[in-house]
Symmetry: C2
Subunit: 208 residues, 2 copies
DNA sequence: CAAAATTTTGACCGGTTGGACAAACGTTAG
DNA sequence: CTAACGTTTGTCCAACCGGTCAAAATTTTG
């Protein structure tokens, strides 16, 4: 058994500072597109100083990734059997959209990793993530069997919630460019929330 | 007025070869993550030879990007007023999903560019793309006014179609990892098509 | 305070990268 | 055949990048 290494107060603080800076840089440029110098400058320290706290560039990325995954899956973990199905799904969509709004850098970091083939987190996708999604898909299946929601593919339903919500973080510049200066402001997340709620809960069929 | 530069037959062919190789490499590693050497090797030639056809790395990327945008927006251009609205939308969704299936590299190239803040194509997003989307959003608005489809935000509707379809190209490794070896095979696009059709045309409300 | 431990820095290194260039090679037209 | 033109290659370079190291500066501890 090995506990996490003992660290001084300074080490704790500086490591946080570096991780915050690295999140900024990695999420904007990807892993290979980012340099240690950039991260060091964003953290307000010299490169060798940074390397005193993280011995390799990859260590920073790995630490960032580990932390990310916990918070990233939290909304899905909260989805559970108790309560009204449609309400549960609406809450899940809202939580995911809030994450896209409040943690866009984390979303882009994740997107960058997946886009490049997920070389560093593949085992996690096939293990922890798959297990969690399978479990929640079965919950959704139960709702369908009980006639609480329409029958459809639960896995693709989850994918579509991921895709539509994360889009507002990952493709933010495109969303803003298309909406223009007037509609692309802070209100876009509320518009998106309203739209997604209707899409998932009602579809596009006209109401009689 | 300046026409496109005169080129010999060999130049035409070699340039195509390079662009094909560059698409492979750029879409997998991003712009900064790709090296001229990688592209040259994928194209079966030496680095200086490649640089004879494209003088700078950025020229390759730029050429690739310009071509991409035309084909990328083609499905949306086809969306028009004539014909049944729900059928039109279903066709658009299917075309976009087919593009994700048949041109995943193009999708990832585009996603990479947007993720990094779209530094090279920003003017196009604010110009050509915005104009096209605004135009099509108005078509959709007309359908809504006519009571042909439910009232909702046309812009966010288009975003959600982009997001859900491109997801199967951009996040392909994640989709496959979650679906597992049995369900993650070639059939996943048909499952996705069925699901998306239901989602957009019916929503999740249970049928009475 | 003084010794010990921690933190910061400047100088440096080997490998990679984008790109330049001239020489060699091949092709085509007179 | 040969001169002109187009293509390919080997060599080289300067900038950059990840990372090392020893020494200096600072903080902590007895």
């Amino acid at each position: 058994m090995e506990g996490s290494p003992r660290r001084t107060r300074i080490q704790q603080e500086k490591r946080e500072l570096i991780l915050e800076a690295a999140l900024e840089v990695f999420s904007a440029n990807g892993f290979r597109g980012s340099t240690i110098d950039q991260i060091a400058e964003a953290a307000g320290m010299s490169k060798p100083n940074l390397l005193y706290y993280f011995r390799r560039k990859e260590d920073i990325h790995e630490t960032l990734m580990q932390r990310l995954l916990d918070t990233w899956l939290a909304p899905l973990r909260e989805l559970d059997d108790i309560g009204d199905p449609l309400t549960e799904l609406r809450s899940y969509i809202r939580r995911k959209l809030e994450m896209a709004r409040d943690f866009p850098r984390e979303s882009r970091l994740f997107a960058n990793e997946i886009l490049q083939g997920a070389p560093r987190i593949m085992p996690m996708l096939e293990g922890e993530l798959k297990t969690l999604v399978d479990e929640k898909a079965n919950v959704v299946k139960g709702w369908m069997r009980a006639g609480k929601i329409a029958r459809t593919d639960p896995w693709h339903l989850i994918f579509s919630i991921w895709a539509t919500t994360q889009h507002y973080a990952d493709f933010d510049v495109q969303v803003r460019a298309v909406l223009g200066p007037d509609r692309g402001g802070d209100g876009r997340f509320e518009d998106a929330a309203r739209f997604l709620e209707q899409l998932f809960l009602e579809g596009l069929k006209p109401k009689e």
